[in-house]
């Protein structure tokens, strides 16, 4: 596997009234496992169902009901761990996190505190070509999602929807290696990308597939390096946790606000209090949710309904063998094999469907030209219509056909764009369309010469100008192209115009 070389980005520096400050960020990302059934019951996970229609006796915590681990969810979490180059713990265990809330029917969430399924891993977070941050993953554990409480349907009553109760989540916990709001968003983007490649999380943030708790603290320049040396988190300052955000934009805004709030507090001689905060996007600020003293005592203990989860190394190895090529490797390969810039390779590998599309177009063709067409024409056109690559009306074979017609000299680049628009709107075989609609470019020099002669004869003043200033020759080229409906071979036209004008 190829690897690209990266420099780490500079940490974000915020200038306070007195000093410069740096940010330290750690994230806990809750990713919904892509699975048709819940973590401990057979109920469906379909999004958008009628309230309380995807609820089994287990999810509703009826008396005497017991959880049974859904093996597929575990497989998905292991796949995710392997995709993040993480250690898979062959023995893990489930613990109960106890608290009362109406959308938590059991009165506890089944999670993994003491022995998580996945241990240390890492994510390479791309910031710019040649610049990336290695963010270490501390652990990934598997847990149940809670239901949804609805307080705004009735003035006096609250409602509870248990459809989401018991859906499998992966909690991906990073080390405090993220150094700015943009990095935080890029980290989440990269996690999402990897999980979408793996097929382990759909990553749809609007429907709550991906949510993040963000721990933010600020420190003086140099302090972070001391932390790295000593491992002592005391150097990093007191952190606050901003809970449950599901928008990249809000995450960045919340971090920025929170960092400035902490800096202002510290510079005024105050202290940051460790607490849980919520981001209010309407006001653009974070608000205290509960302090450390008010923090719940979750009374974690091993869930006696579930035996420790023991995995076979062979089973894990089989999953490892089935992993697809992941974004970093694919990007490096695109740079090496197709001669693309890292930037273009990054754009093409953002989604695996786009990368696959590109590779089909590039097959047997010039990689750079294929990349240009996919990125500039196809992506631009799809974006205009808010369509996904998977919904593209132009197939890779059709786009490849257009590129082939350029390469063979049958059409010019300009005509190719028109052709693309026709194929996009109407479909059809590009070569047949060119033939049927007379779009083939004119390379018959006799016809071009006749046209040039006519224009020279009709425009003696322009001829004078051109002789004085050769740049004016472009005007003649334009007239010829216009007259031929753009079908004339531009190079041939250029050559003939120059010769006839004696330039």
């Amino acid at each position: 596997m190829l690897d690209l070389a990266y420099e780490p980005p500079k940490p974000k520096v915020i200038s306070g009234a007195r000093h410069d400050w740096e940010l330290v960020i750690g994230m806990e990302v809750h990713a919904q496992v892509a699975s048709k059934a819940k973590l401990f019951s057979g109920a469906s996970t379909a999004f958008g169902a009628e309230p309380n229609s995807n609820v089994s006796f287990v999810d509703a915590a009826m008396p005497g009901m017991l959880p049974v681990i859904n093996e597929f969810c575990i497989e998905q979490a292991v796949r995710t761990g392997l995709g993040l180059k993480a250690r898979i713990n062959l023995v893990s265990a489930f613990d109960r996190k106890n608290y009362f809330y109406p959308d938590l029917p059991q009165g506890y969430q089944i999670s993994q505190l003491y022995h998580p399924l996945v241990g240390e891993g890492e994510v390479l977070v791309d910031m710019a070509p040649g610049v990336a941050r290695r963010v270490r993953i501390e652990r990934i554990h598997v847990e149940q999602d809670a239901g949804k409480s609805i307080h705004d349907m009735d003035p006096a009553m609250s409602f509870v929807d248990l459809n989401r109760t018991g859906v499998a989540l992966m909690e991906i916990v990073s080390r405090p290696d993220i150094r700015g709001p943009e990095e935080a968003a890029a980290y989440l983007t990269k996690l999402r990308q990897i999980m979408r490649y793996l097929g382990t999380c759909e990553g749809n943030m609007q429907s709550g597939n991906l949510r993040a708790d963000v721990n933010v603290s600020v420190c003086r320049p140099g302090a972070y390096e001391k932390f790295i040396e000593t491992g002592d988190p005391g150097h990093l300052g007191t952190r606050c946790e901003i809970k449950n955000m599901n928008s990249m934009r809000f995450i960045q805004q919340a971090i920025d606000y929170e960092a400035r709030r902490q800096i202002a507090l510290l510079e005024e001689g105050g202290e940051v209090v460790q607490e849980t905060r919520l981001y209010d996007p309407d006001r653009g600020e974070t608000r205290s949710m509960r302090s450390k003293e008010e923090a719940h005592d979750y009374r974690y203990f091993p869930d006696p309904d579930l035996l420790p989860l023991e995995l076979e190394q062979d089973w894990v190895d089989a999953i490892a063998d089935s992993l697809p090529e992941l974004p970093d490797a694919k990007k490096a390969r695109f740079v090496a094999d197709y001669g693309l810039t890292e930037y273009d390779a990054g754009v093409l590998t953002a989604e695996v469907a786009a990368a696959d599309y590109f590779e089909q177009v590039a097959d047997g063709r010039d990689g750079k030209q294929a990349a240009n067409w996919v990125i500039n024409e196809l992506f631009g056109r799809l974006k205009k219509d808010e369509r996904e690559i998977t919904e593209s009306p132009v197939s890779p074979a059709q786009l490849g056909g257009i590129i082939d017609l350029i390469a063979s000299g049958d059409i010019s680049g300009k005509i190719a764009k028109e052709l693309f628009e026709i194929v996009y709107a109407e479909g059809g075989d590009p070569a047949e369309i060119v033939e049927a609609r007379g779009m083939r470019q004119v390379t018959d020099t006799g016809a071009i010469e006749a046209e040039v002669d006519r224009i020279i004869a009709e425009n003696p003043a322009q001829v004078e100008k051109a002789r004085a200033n050769p740049k004016v020759a472009g005007w003649f080229v334009g007239q010829v192209m216009k007259a031929t409906g753009g079908k004339a071979n531009p190079k041939a036209v250029n050559d003939i115009v120059a010769a006839k004008l004696g330039l």
Partner: protein, 493 residues
């Protein structure tokens, strides 16, 4: 012929198979006894129509031949088992009106084996208690009586024990978390078996302490315990802690020959202040087994003295979490709320009114031992003790011991209202000989072995190796035969 309801499962099964009686006759006899036995407080939800319907179906199957093992046998089911469409409320107010839409795996297996459910049996609330006095229905009463005092049938499976001892049914299901099958069996002169943890599915049984709870049979004879266990046991994919092991033919393993078996007598079970009668009975039990050809050896289970405190950390810890689901939101009891009450008021009022005093005590103890700063000192230490207790037994079995003989209880049945009023620990001491077995996950059986001076039954406990209920039942049957316990309570109800 004696009263039909006084038959054992084995006797009734054979009579049904021969066509000497029908399940409807047998069921009617039991239903009559249940009606007449109201003073015992054993049955708390009666299902006579359902019983007769199942009895008629059983008779049809018997007539057609190829009837399953328990076809037509009338049983009582502890209220802890969820039974479809039939009130199942763990003797708690908080499950007031709860009628599950599902049948517990164990009771479903019994139903599928042709058994006839007569109704639901009294118990301590959420199986927390040793006297059946914490029940929302009021206590069940021991059919044994020597003076004017009413005695406890023990607990938590007190209703099951009273019903079987008073011949209201042929046998009953119980559950045992710290002795809840064996202690009531001993108090009422019947047989009670707690199987190896994982032998019977816990699915559909209201949870008390998940790592200790186990269902088991409460019967008139050891043979019946073998027959009933056969139908209750088996792997259940819906319970991750149920063992995926074959269930042997327990009844066929009753050989009547225990020559050469090694029976251990643990010296740590000789408690300070233990009544002489109990000690004598224990010695007599050992002698009887020796006379039957077994070898009696002294063994040591050194961590025994830590078992009760460890149990009373682990069981309440699990219970505090298991009982969190009873919150008034989805089913069962919900307190009447005042204008302006919020969700926390609803929780607090519902749980304050819905749970009894003993359940609240254990929920609070459990919450305490799991709380931050105390977890290691209590819960984690208790888990370590549990590991040591388990190792004690493993070492004894490694030395070639086949089964261990101990007293089942530190006393005979006591009077209702006489114990634990001032100090709950006094009541907890009832479990002193039985909790170790739950902590170690082993099978244990209580066998009636004699009467005390006043004429009340006393039991002995035999503890077996994991998954070896068959050999354990074999030894128990030898003890049963040697003890020749045939006494029955004199009918006063």
């Amino acid at each position: 012929m004696t009263d039909l309801n006084a038959l054992t499962i084995a006797e009734a099964r054979d009579a049904l198979a021969r066509g000497d009686l029908t399940s409807v006759e047998l069921t009617e006899a039991c239903l009559g006894a249940v009606e007449a036995g109201g003073a015992l407080g054993a049955f708390v939800h009666k299902t006579p129509e359902l019983a007769l319907e199942r009895a008629r179906a059983a008779d049809a199957r018997l007539k057609a031949g190829a009837a399953p093992a328990l076809c037509g046998i009338p049983l009582g089911i502890k209220d802890l088992f969820c039974t479809e469409g039939v009130a199942s409320q763990a003797a708690s107010r908080i499950l007031d009106g709860f009628r599950p839409e599902y049948e517990s795996t164990v009771s479903a297996q019994l139903r599928d084996a042709g058994a006839v459910m007569l109704g639901k049996l009294n118990m301590d609330e959420f199986a927390m208690g040793s006297s059946n006095e914490t029940s929302v229905y009021g206590p069940a009463v021991n059919p044994w009586k020597v003076d004017e005092r009413k005695l406890t049938p023990g607990g938590s499976s007190g209703g099951s024990a009273a019903a079987v001892a008073a011949d209201l049914c042929l046998a009953a299901t119980g559950t045992d978390t710290g002795g809840s099958i064996r202690q009531p069996a001993a108090f009422t002169g019947i047989v009670g078996l707690k199987p190896t943890y994982g032998r019977c599915s816990r699915w559909g049984i209201v949870a008390f302490a998940s790592s200790l709870d186990q269902a088991g049979p409460m019967t008139k004879t050891v043979r019946d315990a073998a027959i009933l266990l056969q139908a209750m046991a088996g792997h259940d994919p819906k319970d991750s802690t149920s063992a995926d092991l074959p269930v042997p033919d327990f009844e066929a393993m009753l050989s009547g020959d225990i020559r050469g078996r090694k029976i251990g007598i643990p010296r740590e079970y000789r408690m300070e202040g233990m009544p002489q009668e109990i000690e004598d009975l224990w010695a007599k039990g050992a002698e009887m087994l020796r006379d039957a050809g077994a070898e009696i050896v002294d063994i040591s289970l050194p961590h025994t003295k830590y078992a009760l405190p460890a149990y009373y950390v682990i069981a309440p810890a699990e219970a505090s979490s298991n009982l969190a689901r009873y919150d008034g939101v989805r089913y069962g009891y919900r307190a009447k709320l005042e204008q302006g009450d919020g969700i926390v008021d609803m929780y607090e009022k519902t749980r304050a009114e819905g749970f009894g005093a003993e359940v609240k005590r254990r929920v609070m103890v459990g919450t305490y031992v799991l709380s931050a700063g105390f977890y290691d000192a209590y819960y984690n230490r208790a888990r370590k003790v549990r590991t040591l207790i388990k190792r004690d037994f493993e070492q004894a079995f490694d030395q070639g011991v086949d089964a261990i003989l101990t007293p089942a209880t530190p006393s005979a049945a006591f009077g209702l209202g006489e114990m634990g009023q001032a100090d709950p620990v006094e009541m907890y001491l009832n479990d002193i000989f039985t909790v170790t077995v739950n902590l170690a996950g082993l099978p244990g059986i209580s066998v009636p072995a004699g009467l005390d001076r006043k004429g009340l039954p006393l039991g002995l406990q035999l503890i077996g190796k994991p998954w070896e209920e068959g050999p354990l039942l074999d030894v128990a049957e030898a003890l049963e035969r040697a003890a020749g316990f045939v006494a029955k309570p004199e009918k006063w109800w």
